[in-house]
Amino acid sequence: MTEDEESMESLLRALDAAYRDSLEPPPHYREPGASERPTGLDSAQIEKWRNELQAQTRRTQALGRVLCNRRRAMGMDIDDLAAEAHWAASRLEKLEEGELGLNDVDPELLAHLLASLKVTSIGPLEPTIRDLARKNLAVYEKHKGQIYGRSRKGVTARQRHEDLMRGVAGIDEEATARAADRYLKAVQRELESLWPNRSS
């Protein structure tokens, strides 16, 4: 063994002794990513497990509550966030309290709000937004005949529509799922334009 090889050998041996069973990685160590370590598995399977772990981590289901928790963790008050995201503070408050449906929120505006909260992609919020979108953007099956109803104070047009349709026409699940999909895609598109190269 040359002197050069010996010095490398000695250094590698030192690394082995120091870090092999260490609970902390060596400094500046970078583990190769998935692209450099193909697993040979179907990406849908890995995504399923990822969603499972996210579901285990998620304690809060309501979108408004999740956004409120994030805002507070960032030390922002409603007025600061509303100004940054170009929202009216009163509407933001309603969204956090679960009183504002997604049918009343443009996907682009929601994307601005998420970006202000440092959310760069819709991924971690997808199940939460999808559930709410399916509820708020429900498409009803066609009903023959007229349905009459009066407007009521403090009841949104959407809520009134839902109340009127209840028991009269069923929800078209497929059309609702498509509407939720369109909504999610529009939010993601806008997020990508707000966070170029960081949304994947």
Binding site: P26, V66, L125
Partner: protein, 229 residues
């Protein structure tokens, strides 16, 4: 895993903010899983391959879940100046892999009628090959001394590496990891992975070792590294 999106939300991660952790899982689950599955496959093969592939994959998944769980618990100990969050999370899983899988692998191997209960050394597995005291001869005192030595050695290496150029350190570490994985020509593989010629990589590593030695002497005098091994 060279992606530093986590830096923008590190404070939120330390505050255990739920959405922040979901973002981290979203970004890095695939990378951490790929690394840990690779680790499980290596451990399994080192034991003679007692686990069938579906069990290996399931163990990789379990380890990945465990890595994220531990990372969430221990995030306050994470030092961002030392490296990437995703590598740190991977390492948390890696550090637990032997504990979580060791018994299972040994049981399976015994069931298959293999002889030794000890880990077979990997090719290039220096610690196993050079360790002066065999595991079954170790006394509590020698274990304690050896643990103390490792901690002291780690402290010294951290100091020297902290004064070196990060790309020199990361290349030395890369060669070490490749060798640990059983690769017989780690310098050549590291050269290829970094888009350098073997000669350029050897020369780069030579300069890195010279810098290491110079700083080591400045910090600890002429005492050779081998004294601590």
């Amino acid at each position: 895993m060279g992606d530093d999106r986590w830096r923008e939300i590190l404070q939120l991660l330390r505050a255990k903010e739920e959405l922040a952790w979901n973002q981290v899982i979203d970004w890095y689950f695939g990378d951490v899983f790929a690394g840990l599955l690779n680790q499980v496959r290596r451990l399994n093969s080192r034991h003679g391959g007692p686990l069938p592939e579906p069990d290996v994959i399931e163990a990789g998944r379990e380890l990945t879940f465990e890595a994220f769980r531990v990372a969430m618990e221990e995030i306050d100990a994470f030092e961002p100046e030392r490296g990437d969050l995703q590598t740190w999370i991977y390492w948390k899983g890696m550090a637990r892999s032997k504990g979580l899988l060791g018994d299972r692998l040994r049981q399976e191997r015994d069931r298959m009628g293999q002889e030794s209960l000890d880990l077979e050394p990997e090719p290039g597995d220096l610690a196993t090959r050079r360790r002066p005291i065999a595991v079954d001869q170790a006394t509590p005192e020698t274990t304690l001394v050896s643990k103390f030595d490792r901690i002291e050695l780690r402290r010294r290496l951290d100091t020297v590496f902290g004064r070196m150029r990060p790309n020199q350190v990361s290349t030395i570490i890369e060669v070490w990891r490749l060798r640990e994985e059983g690769i017989h020509n780690p310098v050549e593989v590291a050269a290829r992975q970094n888009g350098r010629s073997v000669e350029a990589m050897e020369s780069f590593l030579r300069r890195a070792r010279q810098d290491f030695r110079r700083i080591w002497i400045q910090e600890y005098g002429e005492a050779p590294l081998s004294e601590l091994l």
